[in-house]
């Protein structure tokens, strides 16, 4: 062997040996370290008065046929770092068709929550599941759970507070929602002795409607379940916070008559809602109407009954909604004009599961109050994970009045499962739908409006059905102009043209549509 060749080979092998050696040192240095060294954990016992769910309770039936109360779940066990969590059994709705009797069949799903920092191991035991496949959303975390089929357990680590959903065997049935909250900061927990603070501690509470006054803080502690509806009307500096649950199962479905909105903020200034969970509302869930400076953070919503919109902002200005989870039987996030114009609204870092209607919707009502020169502008949906879009478009603008809708951004959005067009969603079988329309149910103004300057950027659809999209103005003078698609990928295919995206368009009613 030549000298030169020998020294080359020696050099290469030595480098490889050193590299492997260093990696082994790093690996074995971990032996003996404690994963939970820096972990802090808060778990909340559930109310002792909540009934255990029985097999009868899990049957799909409407609210007149079975009890829809929030219950203690008995078929799903969850531990975090070995400590068992209280699991609730709440109602959801798997039907994909509007029910005109206002009595759709309701199913149930388990939810649980805790607070933490550091690293935690979550172990889920589901004796009734085959566990042929398990998916942990958001998929962006890349969590590959350990599955023990014999023991019916699923185990995985998390180190980031978020809302996680465990889907079993590729079915939405009995998916587990885990709300892993950040720890409450000491300075953020209000003083129960402060006379501006209404403190609701752990346990189950029946409270007639709660109306908050300026400067008040309503704290709903972890472990609390409050059967009530909370409103703030013409007030400022109101705060609703905590970790507990606001549950509406005691109210009959609204059937178009009386809606008991769990969180209703009308004509308010600088109010906030943080950390709480909403279950079983009798209509829509969190309403802002003519607010300024509204802030919503880490709110978790699950609705199942008709008109169960998740977060609906009507004629609001300067609203910021962040870190929320919304699973809804109607629009998950929606912005409308019911009175004056809307502007400067941001939804950021959201997790959505849309059982019915649209996931991120502007409209339909864009000038219900028939104002002069109505506008709806500068609305941003950013860093959004849509776990499931089961019914109507995931990204949509339906301008059904005479408003100018402009400067709307949909950015950094991942759709994990796109199934739009199911059930009566077949009337709008689109991924993206941007349209100026006249609608018998939702239009108020005689004139039609305009849509301008829409950005759809960094949007990826990972899985689902192949569906097209739509861009349509109303006519030659009520048009859609300036829609910019950048880096949009659907089921592995980059969308670079209207043809690529299967766009249905209305000729003569749109212009300046670009793809990058």
């Amino acid at each position: 062997m030549g000298k030169r060749l020998f020294w080359i080979l020696t050099g290469v092998l030595s480098c490889l040996v050193l590299t492997v050696g260093a990696l082994n040192i790093m690996k074995f240095a971990k032996a003996g370290t404690n994963r939970f060294e820096n972990t802090k954990l808060v778990v909340y016992e559930g109310p002792k008065s909540l009934r255990d769910a029985t097999p009868e309770d899990l049957k799909a039936a409407n609210e007149q046929q079975r009890d829809i109360a929030l219950l203690h779940c008995t078929d799903t066990k969850v531990t975090v770092n070995g400590t068992e969590l209280y699991v609730y059994d709440t109602n959801v709705n798997h039907s994909r068709t509007w029910n005109s009797s206002y009595l759709p069949a309701l199913s149930r799903t388990p939810i649980t929550y805790f607070d933490f920092e550091g690293v935690v191991r979550i172990t889920v035991t589901v004796p009734d599941r085959a566990l042929d496949s398990v998916k942990i959303s958001p998929l962006s975390y890349g969590i590959k759970p350990k599955i023990d089929k014999a023991a019916h357990t699923v185990s995985f680590l998390i180190d980031t507070p978020d809302s996680y959903t465990v889907t079993f065997d590729d079915s939405p049935a009995r998916a587990l929602h885990i709300f892993a909250n950040p720890l409450e900061k000491e300075e953020d927990i209000p003083d129960p002795e402060d006379d501006k603070v209404i403190y609701i501690g752990p346990g189950e509470w029946d409270i007639d409607s709660i109306s908050l006054e300026s400067g008040q803080t309503l704290y709903i502690a972890g472990g609390a379940v409050v059967h009530s509806d909370i409103s703030a009307n013409f007030v400022k500096n109101v705060r609703v916070c905590g970790r507990g649950i606001i549950d509406g199962s005691g109210y009959k479905g609204w059937a178009g008559k009386t809606a008991y909105i769990p969180l209703k903020f009308d004509f308010t200034q600088d109010c906030s809602v943080e950390g709480v969970i909403v279950t079983n509302p009798n209509a829509w869930c969190l309403q802002g109407y003519a607010t300024t400076g509204f802030r919503v953070d880490n709110v978790k919503i699950i609705s199942c009954r008709p008109n169960g919109d998740g977060i609906t902002l009507q004629s609001c200005k300067n609203a910021v909604v962040t870190n929320c989870f919304v699973r809804s039987w109607d629009d998950s996030l929606v912005v409308k004009n019911y009175a004056d114009s809307s502007e400067n609204i941001t939804f950021r870092h959201m997790r959505l599961w849309t059982d019915l209607a649209q996931s991120m919707e502007i409209g339909y009502e864009t000038n219900k109050g028939s104002r002069e020169n109505s506008t709806l502008s500068h609305v941003t949906f950013e860093d959004i994970c849509v776990l499931n879009g089961f019914h109507k478009p995931v990204i949509s603008i339906h301008n059904a009045d005479d408003a100018l809708v402009s400067d709307i951004v949909f950015k950094d959005i991942t759709v994990e499962n796109l199934r739009t067009g199911s059930g009566d969603g077949a009337e709008l079988p689109y991924f993206v739908d941007i349209a100026v329309v006249s609608n018998g149910n939702w239009s108020t103004t005689r004139e039609r409006g305009q849509i301008r300057d829409i950005t759809i950027e960094n949007v990826t659809v990972l899985d689902g059905a192949q569906v097209g999209s739509r861009i349509a103005g109303y006519d030659e003078t009520h048009t859609v102009s300036g829609v910019h698609f950048k880096n949009v990928t659907v089921l592995g295919k980059k969308i670079k043209s209207l043809e690529d995206g299967g766009f249905k368009v209305k000729d003569g009613t749109f212009s300046d549509i670009t793809f990058e």
């Binding site: 492997v20 971990k30 994963r35 002792k48 109306s211 013409f234 008991y260």
Partner: protein, 204 residues
């Protein structure tokens, strides 16, 4: 030969190291440090509790003497919010109400009693449900026997409406003959227009 042996040894060390890296598992401990777990306990209870903050003392409504002569009145308004028609102020239901047009104060609700009565009190009611939060309405009452000649019988003043006290206000004044009664709303801290679920006018 020595060189070959050297290379073989280096290669074997590399293979062994790679094997260890890939196939030998390292188990990190998973132990919670003392004091790092907090369990928030639930209270003992068998059914949902009432919260002391929201306990409301029973309220006895105030019923002025005399007869409510408003029920058969003809009622009109200078403006109204969509759907909040003036007739709703005398339909004997507290779940329906008149509301003035948004931002168009003063809202004037006028009742024609169809006859002249000696009136000594006006009672204004809103829905008593707790969801109707406390509010203050600024109100003046005008009256007269002829529609075009109304004069102030109760000067403009603020009236608090609170569900804890039935969400009602009784406004009493020296008895006076009148056929037309106008409730004039100047402001409402709880809505965009003046509101009245019921107007009751008491006459001897």
């Amino acid at each position: 030969m020595k060189r070959i042996i050297t290379l073989v040894i280096l290669a074997l060390i590399f293979i062994a190291g790679t094997g260890t890296l890939v196939f030998v598992p390292v188990k990190e401990k998973e132990e919670m440090k003392a004091g790092s777990l907090k369990v928030v306990a639930a209270p003992a209870q068998e059914q949902a509790m009432e919260h002391p903050y929201f306990k409301v003392e029973a309220f006895e409504p105030v019923i002025p003497s005399g007869t409510n002569v408003a029920l058969t009145a003809k009622v009109t308004a200078n403006n109204m919010g969509a759907g909040f028609v003036p007739k709703k102020a005398i339909d004997d239901k507290l779940t329906t109400y008149y509301e003035g047009a948004p931002g168009e104060f003063p809202n004037e609700l006028t009742l024609d009693l169809k006859d002249v009565y000696s009136v000594h009190a006006v009672k204004l009611l809103l829905c008593p449900d707790a969801v109707w939060a406390k509010r203050v309405q600024t109100i003046e009452i005008l009256a007269g026997t002829e529609e075009g000649a109304l004069k102030t019988v109760v000067a403009k003043a603020d009236y608090e409406f609170d569900p804890k006290t039935g969400n009602e206000r009784v406004i009493e004044f020296p008895a006076e003959n009148m056929r037309f009664v106008m409730i004039r709303f100047y402001a409402n801290t709880g809505a965009v227009g003046g509101q009245a679920a019921e107007v009751r006018i008491y006459a001897d």
